[in-house]
Amino acid sequence: MTETTLRLMTGGEAVVEAMRQIDPDVVPVYPITPQTPIIQGFAKFVADGKAQAELVNVESEHSAMSAAVGSALAGARTMTATSSQGLALMAEVVYIAASMRAPIVMAVGNRALSGPINIHCDHSDSMLIRDSGVAQLFAENAQEAYDLTVMAPRLAEHPDVLLPVLVCQDGFTITHSAEPVAMLDDEDVSSFVGDYSLPHRVLDTAHPTTQGPFAMPDYYFELRRQQAAALETALDAFTGIATEYEELSGRPYGPLEAYRLEDAERVIVALGSSAGTVKDVVDDLRDEGDPVGLLRIVSFRPFPAREAAALLEDADTVIVLDRADSPGGAAPLRAEVAAALYGSAARLDGHVYGLGGRDLHPEDVREIFSGCAPPYVGLRGVACPA
């Protein structure tokens, strides 16, 4: 482990630095708030000769992802970035990228989907592509946005995985908020990510292949199963990569984080930056003698269901916080945790919060832990039900 200096930077800037150090070959991208600082910062590095990537200024996110598929399968390490409507426009090609097993790394600045049109954070954009077959890792802060981005190419390009990996950070809350970040040396990142190589044939005019072939009922199902198996494998692959990364950085990572779960009676499960707020409240309540804890999901896809169930085994009450709604059904994270806990004696509760960038305050988290919070936390005119 080398000594590191802390630098003040936003989550967006941290990802730009990670991208410069990874030095991808091709970056097809289209700007959209709150992802724009990422591509703006990276474009500046390219213009200044500090990054060698071919920056492709496409006319839409649909084109960005399409170009990314082509370049990744032509043997070029490829990264892109987007948010909200951009991810929605990409969605068609995100499914195709996963099915073609294109190891693209994408930075996502999570932002609410329209409508009404909004630019602030929630996780509805990520949840839109929940079932596309890509990995989605959620950062809690700028440091994690950096670290997960450095790990992402290794996961995407792992020979048993070969799938797009999305590093998600909360729009504005992380993308635009400056905090101290420890970076690795350029050489360390370079040797950690290694050279780009695909185990199967890439697009090569000298050795032609058909990539993304038509699959009728006799093969479609097989190829979908193969893709699902690859994403299941990504859980162990990520754990292995994170262990290696910890040796390099001193910072531990994994598909989930258990925060003060020892003897915890009530446990919140959450994604992203809100976990930081929950941790503060957990510390305060623990000081007051209240046995509460947090289970933070880092890898939403693949979802570490077995590991989550094992960590929640002794909890009396599990409270899931979703920053995305599923009108007419269970919110995405809640549905996931409910499935993981099926047959458990724990009481399962859940709240939707923070849509369109509404803040989640420590007082809200206290109310949630006390069992005195409405299903939609932070909504005007909704009182505590107790």
């Binding site: 070969l162 044939r201 292949t209 058909t210």
Partner: protein
């Protein structure tokens, strides 16, 4: 019916390498008509060879030599593009 591969043995993303597509004998998709050539009219312009979407036009060196009915789907493009009307679509023989 060709032999089908289990999912765990398929190449990642279903990548197909040259030669593999020979197995599905797409001529079986042909319905009703097949191309027939009148070689006395053929000027060997090879437009049919250029246009055929299934590479079902056979050459002997650079000379037109016939149609490969194992892969011809009967799309009629060859008959449409032939500038001298040497290719005509004729009814498929029905097995008795």
């Amino acid at each position: 019916m060709p032999e089908l591969t289990p999912w765990s043995e398929l190449r990642g993303g279903g990548v197909v390498v040259p030669g593999e597509a020979e197995r599905p004998q797409t001529g079986g998709w042909r319905t009703g008509v097949k191309p027939e050539v009148d070689l006395s009219k053929c000027v060997n312009c090879l437009l049919c060879w250029i246009y055929c979407p299934d590479s079902a036009v056979e050459l002997d060196g650079t000379t037109f030599s016939g149609f490969d009915l194992t892969y011809c789907k009967g799309c009629e493009i060859c008959a449409e593009v032939c500038p001298v009307d040497a290719v005509t679509m004729v009814p498929e023989e029905v097995a008795s």
